[in-house]
């Protein structure tokens, strides 16, 4: 029993210690963004890797989610004779929740895990130590451009997801099921507000991007220095970032509605 309590205590202390280290690491990234030179070339390369190369996945996912939403919501709304509200329902659910959250989860799986694996591989092959020995800060040179790129691309990818989702639902509702196109778009236009919906969506995506940037780079930077360690860190990035994104979504939604 005492052993069990001792282990629990040690684990809890370890967790608290790691949170402290993550916060300190985040502070170092923030500080690195203010220290010249800003690594534009690395930043653009990371935007390409995390953003541009994710566009196809985001488009396909957005369109598919739009199809499903169009079909499900049309059938549900039709029971109450409210199928004209399809544009409103699709628009609000995609812009406020599904767009930022699903984009966050998809980018976590595609780009976040890749960044962890890349930095982890650099750690085990001593490339980060090599940079340190040249008096080059790996956080400034390697971590900061990748973390900021994730925060930069997330709102853009989320916007693409939402646009494709709304288009997908339009195709199903209007072109396939015969809903009036004008009423779909009018419902969408009248229901969506900039501050309450669009701004909330963009802020959420930005925060998800910041969270993912921090978690993905930290896991790679601090992974155990062997291949199994990189593999564990990559898995941990996906799990931790997904949970953090879902929790943050709840908190942000609650805060926004105050």
């Amino acid at each position: 029993m005492m052993n069990w309590i001792r282990k629990l205590g040690a684990n809890s202390l370890g967790q608290v210690e790691e949170i402290g280290e993550v916060v300190r690491f985040g502070g170092r990234i923030l500080l690195a963004t203010t220290r010249p030179p800003f690594r534009w070339r690395s930043f653009m390369a990371a935007v390409f890797d995390s953003g541009v190369l994710s566009v196809a996945l985001i488009c396909a996912s957005g369109l598919t989610v739009g199809f499903v939403l169009g079909l499900q919501l049309y059938n549900t709304l039709a029971r109450f004779g409210a199928e004209d509200s399809l544009g409103t329902a699709v628009g609000l659910s995609l812009i406020r929740e599904l767009g930022p959250v699903l984009t966050g989860l998809l980018v976590t799986g595609r780009a976040g895990s890749a960044i962890t694996a890349e930095i982890g591989a650099m750690r085990i092959s001593q490339q980060l130590d090599g940079l340190r020995m040249m008096a080059i800060d790996p956080i400034h040179f390697i971590v900061m451009p990748r973390a900021t790129a994730l925060a930069f691309v997330m709102p853009l990818l989320s916007a693409i997801f939402v646009a494709l989702g709304i288009s997908g639902a339009y195709l199903i509702g209007v072109e396939l099921l015969g809903l009036d196109g004008g009423s779909y778009l009018a419902g969408l236009e009248s229901a969506v507000e900039f501050r309450a919906d669009v701004l909330q969506s963009l802020v959420k995506s930005l925060i998800f991007g910041l969270l993912l940037g921090l978690i993905a780079t930290w896991r790679g930077y601090s992974c155990e220095p062997h291949s199994a360690g990189v593999s564990r860190a990559t898995t941990s990035t996906v799990v931790t970032a997904s949970i953090c994104i879902l929790l943050a979504d709840y908190l942000l939604t609650a805060l926004w509605s105050i």
Partner: protein, 265 residues
């Protein structure tokens, strides 16, 4: 350089203790690396040769004791302080540690681009000069992954010396090299030491080359070290030293010892 300057400890290790879990690597290690001299670290696998180099570079903190590099106590420095010290150091890692997403040219040019205001043409000249010195030609656009092990190590050495450091830490510089390239790297390191006063700390299992180059040899064992000039080690009756050096090393040392005696006579 006067004899007094040469004997001044450029790197001083005092009472260093370090353990990885239950395995004790150093237990009160004391040693000095003189300014402008070539010191060769020897010892069996796991005796802490690479770890000692990492400590000197500030990449590994000791559990106890201190490491002083050119007057600065390494373990008391923050990242900014360490960066200042590292500007005076070069390090060749055992696996090269080149950035695998950058070409060989960009890897070697990186410290110059980061720490100097040199024009790109000057940087290119310097990079090509260093690559030629290690025997690498026409490799500018290759990625590290496209080089052989020996070429990779030589490219890493070019990067380590491109900023003309005061102290060069080399982890197994001859490993994986063919005989002509061993001679080339030996000549290059000896030249840098003699003509530019570079303090060189080398770990090596390449017995003959190390013994030829070394001003001092430090044999790491049992958490501490035995040190001396090659001639002193040649006359050592310590069976552990003779066993480690083996037949070839002992013969080589005896020859060096006889040569030293002859020179005195």
């Amino acid at each position: 350089m006067t004899e007094a300057e040469a004997e001044f400890g450029h790197v001083e290790v005092r009472g260093v203790a370090l353990a990885f879990g239950h395995r004790r690597v150093f237990d009160g290690l004391d040693c000095d690396f003189a300014r402008g001299r070539i010191s060769v670290l020897m010892g069996g696998s796991g005796t802490g040769k690479s770890t000692l180099l990492r400590m000197i570079g500030g990449l590994q903190k000791p559990d106890a004791g201190s490491v002083r590099v050119a007057g600065d106590v390494i373990e008391t420095l923050d990242e900014a302080g360490l960066a200042k010290v590292r500007n005076r150091l070069g390090m060749l890692f055992q696996n090269g540690a080149l950035l695998d997403s950058m070409s060989v040219f960009d890897n070697v040019a990186l410290p110059l681009r980061e720490h100097t205001d040199q024009a790109e043409s000057e940087i290119a000249d310097r990079v090509h000069d260093r690559l030629a010195a290690v025997g690498l030609l026409d490799v500018d656009d290759l990625l590290p992954g496209e080089l052989s092990g020996g070429m990779l190590r030589r490219a890493a050495l070019a990067r380590a010396i491109v900023t003309e450091p005061e102290i060069l830490l080399c982890d197994e510089p001859f490993s994986g090299l063919d005989p002509p390239n061993v001679s080339r790297i030996e000549a290059l390191l000896t030249h840098l030491n003699r003509d530019r006063g570079l303090t060189l700390i080398v770990t090596s299992h390449h017995m003959a080359t190390s013994l030829r180059m070394a001003h001092r040899i430090l044999l790491l064992r049992n958490g501490g070290c035995v040190e001396g000039s090659p001639a002193e080690l040649a006359s050592s009756r310590d069976s552990a030293i003779r066993e480690f050096l083996g037949k070839d090393g002992a013969e080589h040392l005896s020859r060096l010892g006889r040569e030293a005696q002859g020179a005195k006579g």
